[in-house]
Symmetry: C2
């Protein structure tokens, strides 16, 4: 485990950047619905609002940040192309965004990424460069490709434009619900949560904001406690979207100043969450997308009678695996 | 197999009754979302609009017809109470509607109804009278209870107010999408389809209307061909919401004059539909709710480039069974 200090970040995004991102993604990203379940509300004793990014293009919120970042490219950057890396939802999001904007896309993905995600990324016209998960560092490979081929690097979360794009999720939620008492947000690298912090600060300053990590990988909580980014081994968890080893520098720069707390949920609570989403809301949600509900469920007594938002980050569950988990 | 002629039905509902029903259920029933999937559209080559009644109160469209029928009770009928029968979604819908309107509810259900449905119905305050599925006739038992106790009988589909209520599904859909080229509707007793016919006739007269039955129980298709209601043995199919033995008289009176055709889908196509809903739309849909998509999928070439609506009737799948089917 190593630690490093957050750099001073003069170009940290602010709410104005979220507003600009909202204008850029309009007509490309879906304005996803906010859903509720009376029966689940009664079971929890909490008035709960679910922002459903499982309905987003490419199946997760990642499309927002990717599209926002790419749409700011100069004509020269567009022509030269972009490179990114991810084993999960970001690769599909960035490949699709690049396709829509006519930008050549190269994506660095692990050799053993799910076949469905490799196929989806390829289907969006992305060139895939594979690497061995246990040997190579994808960020490094992507960085080398960027230098070599003159491509612009779009990292999956540690980037002002990506954070601003993800902030539109919470902006839309709060515009629809009005101020909430609390908001629970899945936390991996911190893009969704940092974006949420910007929107909460502007639209619902009294709202408590919680990042929720898998119990197996609580680097975010550790980082918040220590006041510096803590790096861990990739955690073993069902929440594959939150298997990050450290929070981004831009992300942490915002989180340390804004979140009420970072909390965790164990894998079995994520499975319970998947079952709740299927039963009460008739929604297919991937394990990472259940982090918020799982954490709220455990703390429902604390929020009794309050109005609470939960960000549902995505729905790209492998169907066989999803069915197996649902069967319990 | 026996047949009987449809009675002449002077009180057959018309579109005006659907409009009245829409006013009555407003604020009680959800105006459910119309969802689309670009990827599924590309796969089918059809511009497809899914009206998602799996998000409706009590998990299916049945709430609309039940609430509409009960809200027309006189004060005397309200005080005396109602009786109905169903092993499925109608019992929950009618129990919940009665609870909201303060009407005592008695529901006749088979002894071996799923525990979850018995519990849900009881949870809404309904008194449950059980019977042996292989011995008793639920309609007869309910009729006897109505006579004995002075209760008003609300049948699950063969009733003008129930049909008018179900018509609000298609009214909402067409108001949102404008005229469509075709509409695919699950068919059991014919409440949803007859209601759809009224709305289509008023709002999209050029739209072709298809009822979709499980292949194992094509009494509707037979009835349409013969021009009279055909009664069959309860079919063995995954589509438990369409295990009816005959179409209702009011329903058939409308259908024979309005539908383009009645078609069928085999059970394995329903499972494919469930998988499509989970993969592309991130929705949990019960097998009966997949009838429309399954039928469209088989005929996609015929509707290439057209705008087609599909009614998704409900999402009350037993979770274990749902997971088993999804795993394939």
């Amino acid at each position: 485990m190593t630690t490093r200090l957050p750099a001073p970040l003069p170009d940290s995004p602010v709410y104005r950047d979220v507003q600009d991102a909202a204008r850029r993604i309009e007509g490309y990203a879906h304005r996803t619905p906010v859903l509720r379940s009376r029966m689940l509300d009664e079971a929890l004793g909490v008035e709960t609002y679910f922002k459903c990014e499982n309905f987003q293009r490419t199946g997760s919120f990642k499309f927002r940040g990717a599209f926002n970042a790419l749409s700011r490219f100069t004509p020269r950057q567009r022509a030269a192309g972009m490179v990114s890396y991810s084993s999960g939802n970001h690769s599909q999001a960035v490949a699709r965004s690049a396709q829509l904007l006519g930008i050549p896309a190269t994506i660095v993905m692990p050799l053993d990424a799910p076949a469905s995600k490799l196929a989806a990324t390829k289907g969006y016209g992305g060139e895939i460069v594979t690497y061995d998960r246990y040997e190579g560092d994808p960020a490094q490979i992507a960085g080398a490709l960027a230098a070599e081929r003159g491509l612009t690097l779009v990292p999956p979360f540690d980037h002002p434009d990506v954070i601003a794009g993800q902030g539109t999720v919470t902006k839309e939620l709060l515009e629809e619900t009005g101020p909430l008492d609390a908001l629970f947000v899945p936390l991996g690298g911190g893009g969704l949560l940092a974006g949420a912090a910007l929107a909460v600060g502007a639209l619902a300053p009294g709202c408590e904001l919680f990042g929720v990590e898998p119990e197996a990988g609580d680097d975010g909580r550790q980082s918040l406690r220590r006041g510096e980014i803590v790096r861990i081994e990739a955690p073993r968890t069902l929440a594959d979207g939150a298997q990050t080893t450290e929070i981004g520098a831009y992300n942490f720069d915002i989180l340390r100043r804004t979140v009420s707390d970072i909390i965790t949920a164990p894998d079995d609570a994520l499975v319970e969450g998947m079952r709740d989403f299927a039963t009460y809301l008739k929604l297919v949600v991937e394990p990472t997308g259940c982090l918020g509900l799982a954490a709220l469920r455990e703390r429902a007594a604390r929020w009794r009678g309050k109005r609470v938002g939960v960000l549902v980050s995505g729905g790209n569950a492998d169907l066989e695996r999803y069915a197996r988990l649902l069967a319990g």
